[in-house]
């Protein structure tokens, strides 16, 4: 009998094309997702060397980072010249090289990490890459998925492979049940808070445990999405009935006999009893509270009941970094997090722009109004998420409360389009990064779940959403 393997080991082994003596492998890539920001130089490289895209059928392109999200974008004109050039370049590259493409005008357009799973491109056991660090999202399906740089984008376009060394195995187990009001976002932020932004460096994380198994696919995608914020190469969750049910019937999922064959293999994709993990982190689901970030690193996580820390609470290089964060964020140590007033609310992104996220936010917003002076926007992760939300009447709930209801795109998660914070503005955001300047120069970001962001929108302050929910104590 062969040695017990982790889920990561199994997917890795199934994709090794060749292995050099020093262990460096050529890994086959099943799906290559492409967006407009990190691909133009790669396509240009192909042109300069006269190379073709090796597997256009496995290459899926969609513009998302730069696209405006205002409803008037249907006119087809992107005002910012550089953004327009980048989106036009993707239009042309997709056409010239014959890859699958969802242009801005297509209802299926959206954030690449939402479109992939939605269209059934992402399947269990696959290798998935994209020139975007949040490719980790697709790990929710038990696919080995990670971000790559533009040189590697060109490498995958030309060869459908990547030169890779194997990462270590790390297990993150969330035991037990989550308390009411606690979501997948709180899990993933709490893990980063516990391990730090370099805690997963050099590792592929497998998330497991009862609390993970109980999550929907949307929640699992939220958890895996932020594996990169924990420094991990990728995040994985073993596929199960929840996964299969989500995948079945999607446009590019296998059908008929192929579905049965695929299912047979997918059911073998789990970590064997006794397989070795280089690092193990265990967190009790019951111990996780709704959390927010206070600083400018995703590891700066605290329960909403907490207070702003002092730089002296930290050690080593983090002391200077914490002081810099406090200055940047304009926060005084000892301030209750719930006393921090916000100016802007952003609900969306590849972390939290799926239908379940919009439902969770709408549930809190329903029958309430935006607090005075708060600007808030909901940016669905794809045109289909937007359509689904409209069918459920969620758009009206948001509009009635005073939110803007936008078209799909990355939007204020990284503010490459016009959706940006003004200097000094403070945002309750469902996105993934609170870095300096991320949402606009000198803008201040607090990361949290959609329900928590919705609570902040209606109170005007960071707020424990449980106070606004009719909760039955578990």
């Amino acid at each position: 009998m062969s040695a017990p393997k982790t889920l990561y080991d199994k997917i890795w082994d199934a994709h090794v094309v060749s292995q050099d003596e020093d262990g460096t492998c050529l890994l086959y890539i099943d799906r290559h997702l492409v967006h407009e920001v990190t691909s133009p130089q790669a396509f240009e490289g192909l042109r300069m060397t006269g190379r073709a895209v090796r597997a256009p059928d496995k290459t899926i392109a969609v513009p998302d980072h730069n696209v405006p999200t205002t409803t008037d974008r249907a006119s087809g004109v992107i005002e910012n010249e550089e953004s327009r050039i980048q989106v036009n370049a993707l239009d042309k590259n997709a056409r010239d090289f014959g890859v699958h493409y969802y242009p801005v005008s297509d209802v299926r357009q959206g954030i690449v990490h939402i479109v992939g799973p939605e269209q059934g491109w992402t399947l269990p056991g696959m290798t998935v890459v994209c020139g975007d660090s949040h490719t980790a999202t697709h790990g929710a399906f038990g696919a080995l998925a990670h971000g790559i740089g533009t040189s590697e984008v060109e490498h995958v376009l030309a060869t459908q492979t990547l030169i890779q060394s194997k990462s270590k195995n790390m297990k993150v187990e969330i035991t037990g049940k989550l308390r009411p009001g606690v979501t997948a976002k709180d899990i993933t932020l709490s893990v980063i808070g516990a391990t730090g932004t370099a805690g997963g460096t050099g590792h592929v994380i497998e998330y497991c445990g009862e609390a993970i198994r109980a999550l929907s696919m949307e929640g699992r995608m939220t958890v895996c999405n932020m594996a990169i914020e924990g420094g991990a190469r990728a995040g994985l969750i073993a596929p199960d009935e929840t996964t299969f049910e989500y995948v079945k019937g999607r446009a590019h999922a296998p059908k008929g006999a192929q579905w049965e064959a695929a299912l047979n293999w997918w059911k073998t994709l789990f970590t064997d009893e006794g397989a070795h993990f280089d690092k193990v982190v265990t967190i009790r689901g019951e111990d996780i509270a709704p959390v927010v970030t206070w600083g400018t690193s995703p590891e700066d996580v605290l329960p909403i009941s907490g207070v702003v820390p002092a730089a002296a609470d930290f050690k080593g290089g983090k002391v200077e970094a914490a002081q810099r964060s406090l200055d940047y964020m304009g926060l005084k140590p000892g301030t209750k997090l719930e006393d921090i007033a916000i100016d802007v609310v952003f609900i969306g992104s590849c972390t939290n722009g799926r239908i379940e996220d919009l439902r969770a936010a709408a549930e809190v917003v329903k029958g309430r109004k935006l607090a005075d002076g708060v600007r808030a926007m909901v940016v669905p992760g794809s045109g289909l998420v937007r359509a689904q939300a409209e069918e459920e009447g969620l758009d009206q709930i948001f509009l009635d409360a005073g939110f803007e209801w936008r078209m799909a795109g990355c939007s204020m998660c990284l503010a490459m389009n016009p959706d940006q914070l003004a200097p000094g503005e403070r945002c309750a955001s469902t996105s993934n990064r609170n870095f300096e300047g991320r949402q606009g120069r000198n803008g201040r970001t607090h990361l949290m779940s959609p329900a928590m962001a919705a609570a902040a929108a209606v109170t005007g302050k960071l707020t424990d959403v449980r106070k606004l929910m009719e909760l039955e104590e578990a």
Binding site: S151, H155, A198, G317, A321, R324, E436
Partner: protein, 201 residues
Amino acid sequence: MDKFEKLTGVAAPMPLVNIDTDMIIPKNFLKTIKRSGLGVHAFAEMRYDDNGNENPDFVLNKPQYREAQVLVAGDNFGCGSSREHAPWALADFGIKVVISTSFADIFFNNCFKNGMLPIVLPQEQVDLLMKDAEKGSNARMTVDLENQQITTSEGDVIPFDVDAFKKHCLLEGLDDIGLTLAKASAIDSFEAQAAQSRPWV
């Protein structure tokens, strides 16, 4: 790709931990469709004020570090976004070597694709090099890839590890794609076999 063999130059100290790729190259400079010309925007939000004037306190604006070729940085350098614009911007500025206790994986890999050498060393040695870098432009350090060693301005020699394949590619300036295409028959066989075992892919 440009070769990297050996350099002797000024090292700039940047002790801040968790320097992310948004700091190295803010998103408003990602709209380019070229690889070149990003050096002037490297660390833009730390380097320039709201009016675009240089912030005199930022290390790379100080006269002694304007020609820096080496960065000695705090833990977890290059975390966050996968943007290869980060190493493009550093290289275009003139920085070819970054030394830290740890790097984010994607940034680390991206460096090697651009003739840059990221070096991981234990805290004590990074501290020593940080002190050396703090001496300014009179203290030039030498980074020798062939012999895998750094020589400080004081003559201290610090050895470092580097992946053998990556070292080979840097020393020879090899193009990864060319190397992989030489294995096209292995990729062909893998695809043929996968078409049987996983036809739904």
